[in-house]
Symmetry: D2
């Protein structure tokens, strides 16, 4: 039944939702509700929970399960709900997948196990072993900066033949690789090719991609929906206009000195917009006053704040 709800290929903007936290081990539930309503109001085409931006790997099992359940209730089938089940443990991925299905999620997202990096053949076998045990259709997720392994074009081609694998999210940050994936999958018209980095969203859609999973859509969902629509129409003028705003917004991601600044920046911006808490799961801490001021300036520049 869930499957029927899910258009094939899944297209458009599917924000990787941050996980609003009240404290170390509990959800900011009012914040989560506000966040989901904020994002849906922006016209997005789906939601992705427990990804990198969602701090999925940093959350306890209890918190992951709760996030899925609560989000599913709030979304209430208004858009497709994708749940990240990436885990270094095979069994825990399956357990979470089952929970997601019970909660009414529509699809799963799975990156390679991220401790001991597998070879391509091992990776393919892993996908072959796990997919049949999953209760929902699956998007594979390429995230080499975190998993230390790329899903090669050839591995994707073979994995896309597995019954149940319906799409791919590429966060390799390599547009050359994305062109390769597009070229390789060109005959599978029901297969969804989604891009991670928002800087590449417009061109990936121009060249045949299905859409994107932009972190910035937590903050400014319309911006990404609009650039997606412009790209679908081949409207370069509008794209260039909106691309400038995307490059303003991404300044939010470099207010701190570490790679964690990306998520810290999004959560801090959401807090400045009174949407949800900026609390970060360990090993990270929320931005302080200094960065908040910088972030407010950027939000003002984007006219998201006065």
């Amino acid at each position: 039944m869930q499957e029927r709800f899910l258009k094939k290929p899944l297209t458009g903007i599917i924000p990787p939702l941050v996980t609003p936290l009240a404290d170390e081990n509990s959800l900011d539930c009012p914040g989560l509700e506000k966040l989901i309503e904020h994002v849906l109001k922006g016209g997005v085409h789906g939601l992705f929970l427990l990804g990198t931006t969602g701090e999925g790997p940093s959350l306890s099992l209890k918190l992951k399960y709760q996030m899925v359940k609560r989000s599913s209730e709030i979304v209430n089938r208004r858009v497709p709900l994708l749940v990240g089940i990436t885990d270094t443990s095979f069994a825990e991925s399956i357990n979470l997948a089952e929970h997601a299905a019970e909660c009414g999620a529509n699809a799963l997202v799975l990156a390679p196990p991220y401790y001991f990096p597998p070879g391509q053949q091992e990776l393919l076998e892993y996908f072959e072993h796990i997919t049949p045990k999953l209760p929902l259709p699956l998007f594979l997720y390429n995230m080499p900066a975190m998993t230390k392994v790329n899903i090669d074009v050839d591995t994707l081609c073979k994995a896309s033949e597995i019954d149940g694998v319906i799409g791919f999210k590429d966060s390799s940050c390599s547009m050359i690789k994305f062109h390769e994936y597009i070229a390789a999958m060109k005959d599978k018209t029901a297969f969804s090719l989604l891009i991670g980095p928002e800087e590449l969203l417009a061109e990936s859609v121009l060249f045949g991609g299905s859409g994107g999973i932009p972190g910035g859509a937590n903050i400014f969902p319309q911006l990404y929906v609009n650039i997606y629509n412009a790209a679908k129409k081949g409207d370069i003028t509008t794209i260039l206009e909106l691309q400038k705003k995307i490059f303003i917004l991404r300044k939010l991601y470099s207010c701190g000195q570490y790679t964690s600044s990306l998520i810290k920046g999004i959560k801090c911006a959401l807090n400045c917009l009174d949407i949800c808490s900026s609390f970060m799961a360990e090993p990270f801490n929320a931005f302080g006053q200094k960065q908040s001021k910088e972030i407010i300036k950027i939000l003002v520049e984007l006219k998201l704040k006065n």
Copy 2:
């Protein structure tokens, strides 16, 4: 009480025990018992569970908890028991630490959370936040190939001041870095500096290290105990003799084509020696017949098999 059992600094050979598996989600309990007896008979000075060699991150919570409990019962306080609690989730690390303490473990081992790589300051704060919540003394664990972050010398110095941090395992594979750690910690005589890679065990002890955590000690514990003792005495002749055997044994680790070959090789060798199952947790598979034959040859060369 556990602490009193733990000599400070902890010295000698502490094998990183493999986790014998009967199948995907259950322990090979008879194998585990045989393995522990085999290793203890070799004269080792402690045991380390759920490390990299122990496939810790690949196991379900259920399996981790069971492995700790069962091992603790078998060891029965004959040697100190160290338990790896590395996890991308703060709460799950603490939960496992509490379970380990209840089971009678003596110390914990913690590598940085391994999905989103922290900066050095973030890493230090993480250690500062988690250590007070742990019921047992803590060894920090440097494993940059898996965690994507080095614990810098300066970070170690600061972290070693945290009450409860009693040692450090370095698997950076950089002997230059290990010399730096030795130089930096030279006044903390109760602090334990253990080396991961067995190829560097002898020299690390010659230059002031406390001992090692050699994967090969699952198979041939005496070899590592003997080279440790020779190094403590500065007996170069014996070291050179034993070092040759270490370089024969490590051929076990390169029978396959992927990095997983290290663990696959150890488990396959243990199976060839009738000690325990060679079953691997996902995303890996046990070596097949071809590699088993190579492995038997190496075991014969080491006189561990006829």
Copy 3:
């Protein structure tokens, strides 16, 4: 005088010419002439000598000087001639620059010295020191895969203020970085931003880039000129059509197993098209029969050969 010939910004397709070799230390002069005529006939907007594709660093000084002189005579000011002067020695770069000016070249191209990698501040000072000593305008060249250092956005901004620096070639293969360069340089309308990898040519021009330096234009210059023109007009349909051919042509680059396959593939294809020798400078060898056959197939697929 040379400067007046050089449109600012320089735009369009400027192939990085291969260096046709008769043997280890001499030019294939008839091949060079055929190659230049072949490429000019394709409508290119300039030529770039002694780059990575030109095996610049592998050639003796004698050969470099000869290549510049002979090419300049053949081109005879029909298009602007850019000469790579990248060298680990400051003095040799200047010497070659002077030779290029004497031969009638129009601009120089300089990547960072590629042995000991400089920091960004060191790199900037290097550009500041060398530019005033050069007799021709300068393009900076970002080639981190070879030089081990990226020219950061901030460094480019500062370096673009140096009198004489008129453009930038980016071969980082990162489209995200290229967007950053475009954003940073948007007010310098006379500054040229050229992209290296041909897979990214169309989109770089769509988003405001000045053109490209595609290796494949040695073989099929019109293809790149056409996609450049389509991108200038925002003609997505044509772009998508031509992009497919670019992805066929690049199969030429992966017929061997090493990174050198890129240049070997181009030279082998040129040889198959009876344009010039496939001889490679050390440490590389020309492709053999096996790869030639593959390459001919690809040329047939592209209708460059019957």
Copy 4:
């Protein structure tokens, strides 16, 4: 004739001489003389010109040739003279080798061409092609941080079979790799295995290495000669004492913020000791007053200065 002068295997301490510069393109000849006398007085077993520490790749051909000639005259066959001929151009390497032979050098040192990284098979063929054209015996030089390629154990084994290849310098900084080289070459008793990083000098000799090429021996040659002798005798107590000093001296290398700090630190220290100029070849600049003060403190701590 030169060969007879060269003991096989070459053993001991062979400092990689810095190249004292008066300005951008001329030698500091009095400084060079003082430096060579200083180093020879320290009891070293040979000299290595134009390596990484010697800024070989940064020098013009003219300067390289002059450095070889002048050094050879000063050394006057008191110790073996090794000359680095590493170049991205095959022909220039051979030209420099011939010049070195004419000047009376005793051996050559060659790292892989360092622009376009070759595969292992290409690398081996390169060594096979160049060695017969060289007038002097050859040491191969592994310097992956600069050349982007490791000389694998297997490649070394094969290359060591080439007539004329008599030794190997390993600057991989991996002691595990060095153990592998030792194990692989154990039957070739006339083959020299020299280590680059001085932090690993003692242990490399303890385990069978032939000696080292420590940059710090420009400043404090006796220290390295003494630790080499102690290691030859297996005198651990003395080694530990001297190793402490080596770790004080290496603080000289981290006074600046870039990797160039190593060479800058050595040249600055030599200048503080009134031995030679601290002038650096482009793209680097000499340390200023701030770093000089730090460096003097370290020299005082080492009792090399009052």
